[in-house]
Subunit: 322 residues, 2 copies
């Protein structure tokens, strides 16, 4: 592991930079890439923004979102591969995964505790709420001032990775960095509206279908919802539309384990598990061949949602002491 | 209107204080009362916390929430009536509304642009995101340090009145104040969970019923949901449970006007109206005898939700240019 000054020196010495985040990009990955890319360009560097997957509609408003090169790399003499918010080489865009620069001159900046050190230089701070926070600090080390587009991008990164400042990773330093971003005159309310308050109708229809299936165990400690393949198909719903649905079961008072069972292909059901206080859903998921964290885990099993529910709900009830 | 120093002087000179917010109390009203009350007690003052209505379950975790006196006032020689977050005398607890101190020695601290100056002394700052922000500044003027319970209460006030820092009222100064609150060691994630992530099952069932009724106009600019009296009764749902439901219609992409029609008594339907960008729903509500703001308004009309929808939806479609 290297320190931030070393990493800043490597980046400062580069001239033509490939800058990338992780596949299935989120707000922190995209916002951090845009912010750092724009900042480095103010120093006369050439930067190419690479993504392994298309930019999700919710982030299309980001400054320079249309500059991302998806799935290919224009020819050129690059001298640095700069990777943000990516914890394993498997999450790199395909075109970066086997790039010669990975061994020669590459920097990874990340905040996942589990990050593999797969770049030549690595700066990993698991205490950072978002990679956007590290980029903020890096710009100070590099002496690059915040412009509005840079501040906007960092705001998106921090806003999304802290769940609107509600997650445990949020610190006093987070709010101080955000205050400095707002000092540039960006409009945080407009950004929050774009990120959180524009959903396709099919997303609301999917929520409707999920809630219609909501069941709660007799003791009230387990709540589950099912979405079958026919419903997903009929609504034209995507994986992104299903994001966060399980939370509607989790927030019910008294519920300890929340489960979403979603048929992602005929006869294949993805189980999403959440717990509130004491059930280790990572262990629960492991029983079905999956894994994750103590409070959030998942697995993919054979069977239709209702059949799978009949198998996992009793186990979840036992784990919840019901 | 008085300045903050004058108001601080009046409060500093008082010894036995009646402290109150507004009826149907929210997070800013309750959090500000608790924070200022605890702070003044550290100065040796006696403070009685008064509420016109019971403390909502979502705020029962606030420090000293059980100290609120509801609907009555213990006898005593009070020398100051201190009113927070209350824009008109009609929103005062009944026992404060006609209290002799109102004319003799009373202070109102508020942030509503429309506040009537009904106290002897008044400090109104419409630029404050929450009264909690003004109390934060007042404590600095009074030289009272932040303790954890004070910081927790102010955090609740600011968190809720900024919609988790997403509303337009959020400024860089808001984030700086919040950073200082977090410096005391409070747990913002635990607070956010208590405020936002614990809903009674009946609230989720009400959302389910509302979404099941969701209709969208042919052009996609108007979306509406209906909840009839029977549904409200069957679920035992309260007004608080219905709070925010209209937002599920508002966030649909392309929707300009969102409407929730809820039967609050047999044959009486409350219309909640929201718009996104250009329709003045205040004018729309006025056509039905109601009012509000350009982007949020409401009215109460005779009729059942479906009948009322048949009358207002066409008008909303026309207003939305459909």
């Amino acid at each position: 592991m290297n320190d931030l000054l070393t990493v800043a020196r490597i980046i400062g010495a580069a001239q033509r930079i490939i800058l990338t985040g992780h596949i299935m990009p989120d707000g922190d990955s995209l916002g951090s890439v845009v912010a750092l890319g724009l900042a480095l360009e103010t120093q006369g560097k050439e930067v190419i923004f690479v993504s392994g997957d298309p930019i999700p509609a919710a982030y299309a408003f980001l400054p320079e979102a249309n500059r991302f090169v998806i799935g290919h790399l224009p020819p050129g003499n690059y001298d640095l591969l700069l990777v943000l918010d990516c914890s394993t080489p498997e999450r790199l865009a395909h075109v970066c995964r086997n790039h010669p620069l990975l061994n020669e001159n590459s920097v990874c900046i990340d905040h996942h505790a589990s990050t593999t050190l797969f770049c030549r230089y690595n700066y990993i701070d698991p205490h950072a709420a978002a990679v956007g926070e590290i980029v903020f600090d890096l710009l100070q080390v590099l002496g690059i001032p915040l412009t509005r587009p840079i501040a906007e991008s960092l705001y998106v990164a921090i806003l999304t990775d802290t769940g609107s400042f509600r997650y445990e990773n949020t610190t006093a330093a987070t709010h101080r960095r955000v205050a400095a971003l707002l000092d540039t005159g960006i409009d945080p309310a407009a950004i929050a509206t774009r990120v959180y308050e524009e959903k396709p109708l099919r997303g609301i229809r999917l929520l409707q279908a999920a809630l219609a299936s909501l069941k709660v165990s007799p003791g009230g400690r387990v709540a589950w919802m099912t979405l079958d393949w026919g419903t997903m198909q009929a609504l034209g719903a995507t994986d992104a539309d299903a994001d966060g649905l399980v939370d509607y079961a989790r927030i019910i008072e008294g519920v300890e384990v929340a489960i979403l069972l979603r048929e992602t292909a005929p006869g294949k059901t993805r189980i999403g598990l959440r717990s509130k206080r004491y059930v280790d859903v990572n262990r629960l998921a492991a029983l079905f061949g999956g894994g994750g964290h103590p409070r959030a885990a998942g697995c993919l099993v054979d069977g239709q949602p209702d059949e799978v529910a009949a198998r996992i709900v009793p186990v979840a009830m036992e784990a919840a002491g019901e």
